[in-house]
């Protein structure tokens, strides 16, 4: 069993089953019996570990080419646990346009605990190196935290280059790999030390579970993350572990279709008269494979042309659902400035390029013709409204 697609379906059985069940059972039991005081059972208390969670944790470690995996009650619970391995006055260099929830966790929660963070444009290697190195008053950073693809502008972070710089100064590299999954990239192979996932997204794939995963590259990190998982206790419940496991079985099929659809939608939007710009890896000819990506995923974003109200487009979509989250079988659309990235102050947002006109799409596995038709009809409505507004403005001017 060496190929990724096979590992997605099978995982690594625990070898504890006595019934021959093809699927691993869901153990909701919170506690496990000791046969004697001396004989410690393999699992004793479900927070510390249980067979259903262990199946998923072993599988994600296998898929991400790490030594150990951890399942959490949400993506943010995973990030919380991983950041908890650091100490006060440690400094972490953080990609400048990260997910709003992660931004808030760094700047509102961990800042109070003395964990420092330095934002940087991770596309700018010299700026990154300056930030990691620090200066006479600032010791080198302990870690660099990035997302494989920036959200929602879909810039490709060069994990290998980032890792080279970070490791030069003794910093570890933490990568949120949610947007591409191990199907498209294993950041640990490129030099990262810890990989994070909101498994809610592509890995589970059906918008039916909230879950987070973490994978480490060595046992020493594994011990530290396990301590945080077990003591902070933000663990994923067994039934949810099984839901994620079942989603992973079809990851390859879903993501292939989502990428195919996303590229077609991106190309259509690029040629659209009411679209100013489209953000999707490689859409403007930039190299993607050179940065270690085997594909570009199913998320894209675009800015509407001046005069078009982005809310008008979003409010008139019929196939796309207006919702945050991404990576599921159904297509979703949202307005980052108001929905996923409202935690960033407007000035910060504009600085990193998240304008008020930016719409993010998470492309599902529907027939792409329906997705394109849906966008076109919503644009028609938005354009008609824009025309009426400008006519009204003209009448208003004439009335004066």
């Amino acid at each position: 069993m060496t190929q990724l697609n096979t590992k997605l379906v099978h995982g690594l059985p625990l070898g504890t089953d006595t019934t021959g069940a093809v699927n691993p059972p869901i153990y909701n039991s919170s506690t496990y019996a000791f046969e004697t005081v001396e004989s410690m059972p393999r699992w004793d208390y479900a927070r510390s570990g249980n067979p259903t969670r262990e199946f998923l944790e072993r599988q994600i470690a296998q898929l991400e080419h790490g030594t150990r995996g951890f399942a959490f009650a949400s993506g943010l619970a995973a990030i919380h646990a991983v950041l908890s391995i650091f100490a006060p006055n440690d400094r972490i260099v953080v990609g400048a346009n990260i997910y709003g929830g992660t931004y808030s966790l760094f700047n509102e929660h961990f800042r109070r605990w003395g964990l420092l963070s330095t934002p940087v444009d991770t596309q700018d290697e010299s700026a990154l190196e300056r930030a990691v190195r620090g200066d006479d008053l600032t010791p080198p950073a302990r870690a660099v935290y990035v997302e494989t693809l920036t959200n929602p502008l879909l810039q490709v972070n060069d994990i290998a280059a980032i890792a080279r710089i970070a490791h030069r100064y003794g910093a570890i590299v933490i990568v949120d790999n949610t947007f591409v999954t191990p199907y498209l990239q294993q950041p640990l192979d490129l030099g990262a030390d810890i990989v994070l996932h909101s498994a809610t997204k592509y890995l589970a794939g059906h918008s039916d579970v909230i879950a987070g995963l973490a994978v480490v590259r060595d046992d020493a990190l594994g011990e530290r993350v396990y301590y945080a998982q077990n003591r902070l206790g933000g663990v994923l419940a067994p039934a949810e572990c099984d839901t994620v496991r079942r989603g992973i079985q079809t990851l390859a099929l879903r993501l292939e279709r989502q990428q195919e659809n996303a590229l077609a939608v991106a190309q259509h939007l690029l040629a659209h008269p009411y679209v100013r710009d489209v953000h999707y890896p490689g859409i403007h000819g930039e190299p993607v494979a050179a940065k270690g990506l085997r594909g570009c995923g199913g998320v894209l974003s675009f800015e509407v042309a001046p005069g078009i109200d982005p809310a008008d487009v979003l409010d008139h979509l019929r196939v796309f659902r207006l919702a945050v989250s991404l990576g599921a079988v159904e297509s979703l659309a949202e307005l980052p400035a108001r929905m996923t990235h409202f935690e960033l102050p407007r000035s910060e947002r504009l600085k990193v390029g998240i304008t008020d006109e930016l719409i993010r799409l998470s492309i599902g596995i529907e027939d792409v013709r329906d997705l394109i038709d849906d966008l076109d009809q919503a644009f028609d409505v938005a354009q008609e409204h824009a025309r009426r507004r400008s006519t009204d403005d003209l009448y208003a001017v004439l009335a004066i």
């Binding site: 069940a21 093809v22 699927n23 909701n28 059972p41």
Partner: protein
């Protein structure tokens, strides 16, 4: 482990078989690795116990089956997808091939519909009696084709109880099995097998799961009845599915399984071929529900008793049907009251019913006026439920049967839940007062 309270939590599950987990796991697996050709052959032949395909058996469902068998004092059990699957399979397995069943007209509506108008299409007929406790009436109907007597331990909605002991004695004297639907009281209040019944069926949707969140049924076999007698040719005819054709060794269910002949036939013929299999998730919910069976049913029965007592004094309530009142009315020397005191010392369960003055309009106003009771066609839920049987649960029952069951158009049925009894009484009082414009 002989007490219901203990069995409901522990029976049928060995933690060491499931990595010592305190709670049984949910096996969401359609099929099972058979490991080797030899083991696969043995599993298929039934010479080795184990799992191969969840339509036949599943480890989570297996725990539920063993637990309910223990609760009912039975030898073994088969879980199915609904209470009606349990009733249909249990009765057809006994009466298939032209048999007759004796049953009271007071049965649950869907059971009446199945037996009166559907089973005859398969050549299985029912002789209905007005009063299942009228042993002379029952005995007069027993003939050479009679394959089973079927009764409910506590009738719904009248709550009349069946004298299972006397009926079992009569049935056995004629070589006929007694099958009892024990849904309303649950094994906490009554165990028909201990009084002589041969087979027990349940809608586990009701008191056994107790939270209105799952469907299920179960058939429990006492293992005492001789199905090898000539009255039941289906059990003595050779069947390929239990034989080894290649070796020329032919078996019938009776010769192959002995005391397990009936339950094996239910599983191998009815569940396996008709396919109304219980799902592991539903079985798991029932296992969770069973853990609180005793405390729930005890509390619900106590509240039902108090509500019945209260309703007897409420204006416009013409009649209250709750046989459990006999437990507090020692002066009542009627046959029904004596039966209740003898067989149901701890009560008859959460269901009661009452008749109102007036008709459809007043019933509708009560149903629409309650705020704590939910207008729901179910019983045994943690929530209190109210329904008008004539229009809902007994709609498919012919008028003659409805009258025999005491289901008039101005009857209201309650299934008492776990809310505080004072809130329930106040809710009913308010709705009844509202219905009569007080």
């Amino acid at each position: 482990m002989c007490h219901v309270e203990t069995s409901a939590i522990h029976s049928g599950y060995t933690a060491a078989d499931h990595v010592h987990a305190a709670v049984p796991p949910i096996y969401l697996s359609a099929a099972f690795h058979m490991e080797s050709a030899d083991r696969g052959d043995a599993l298929s032949a039934g010479t080795q116990d184990g799992f191969s395909y969840s339509r036949v058996a599943n480890p989570t469902v297996d725990v539920l089956e063993r637990r309910i068998a223990a609760l009912e004092g039975g030898r073994s059990a088969v879980a199915v997808a609904s209470g009606m699957a349990a009733v249909s399979f249990a009765l057809l397995c006994a009466a298939e091939g032209g048999g007759r069943i004796i049953a009271p007209k007071t049965l649950y509506g869907a059971s009446v519909d199945a037996m009166a108008s559907f089973f005859p299409q398969f050549g299985v007929h029912t002789d209905f009696v007005d009063d299942i406790n009228d042993l002379a009436e029952v005995e007069a109907l027993i003939g050479p084709d009679t394959r089973a007597i079927f009764a409910e331990s506590v009738a719904n909605p009248s709550t009349e109880v069946t004298d299972v002991a006397a009926l079992a004695e009569l049935a056995h004297r004629h070589g006929v099995p007694l099958i009892v639907d024990n849904t309303v009281p649950t094994p906490y209040l009554f165990q028909p097998i201990r009084w002589g019944a041969d087979v027990v069926v349940h809608s586990t949707t009701k008191g056994i799961s107790g939270h209105g969140n799952t469907l299920g049924g179960v058939i429990v076999d006492a293992g005492n009845f001789d199905w090898g007698s000539p009255r039941f040719p289906q059990f003595t005819q050779p069947e390929l599915v239990v034989s080894d054709e290649r070796a020329g060794a032919w078996h019938s269910f009776a010769s192959r399984f002995g005391a397990d002949a009936y339950i094996r036939r239910v599983r191998i013929k009815y569940v396996r071929t008709f396919g109304a299999v219980e799902s592991p998730v539903n079985a798991y919910l029932q296992l969770l529900g069973l853990e609180t069976l005793a405390v729930r049913v005890r509390e619900q029965t106590r509240s039902a008793q108090a509500i019945a007592r209260h309703l007897r004094g409420v204006p416009h309530v013409r009649r209250v049907q709750y046989s459990g009142l006999a437990l507090e009315d020692e002066a009542d020397a009627g046959a029904q009251a004596q039966r209740v005191r003898r067989l149901f010392a701890h009560g008859v369960g959460p269901v009661l019913s009452f008749e109102l003055d007036g008709g459809r309009e007043q019933v509708s106003r009560v149903l629409d006026g309650v705020r704590v009771f939910s207008y729901v066609p179910n019983i045994g839920d943690a929530r209190s439920l109210i329904v008008d049987p004539a229009r809902i649960t007994h709609r498919e029952v012919p008028a003659e049967f409805r009258e025999a069951a005491g289901v008039s158009d101005n009857l209201i049925r309650l299934s008492v839940g776990l809310e505080h009894v004072d809130d329930l009484i106040a809710d009913l009082d308010g709705a009844i007062a509202h219905a009569y414009g007080v």
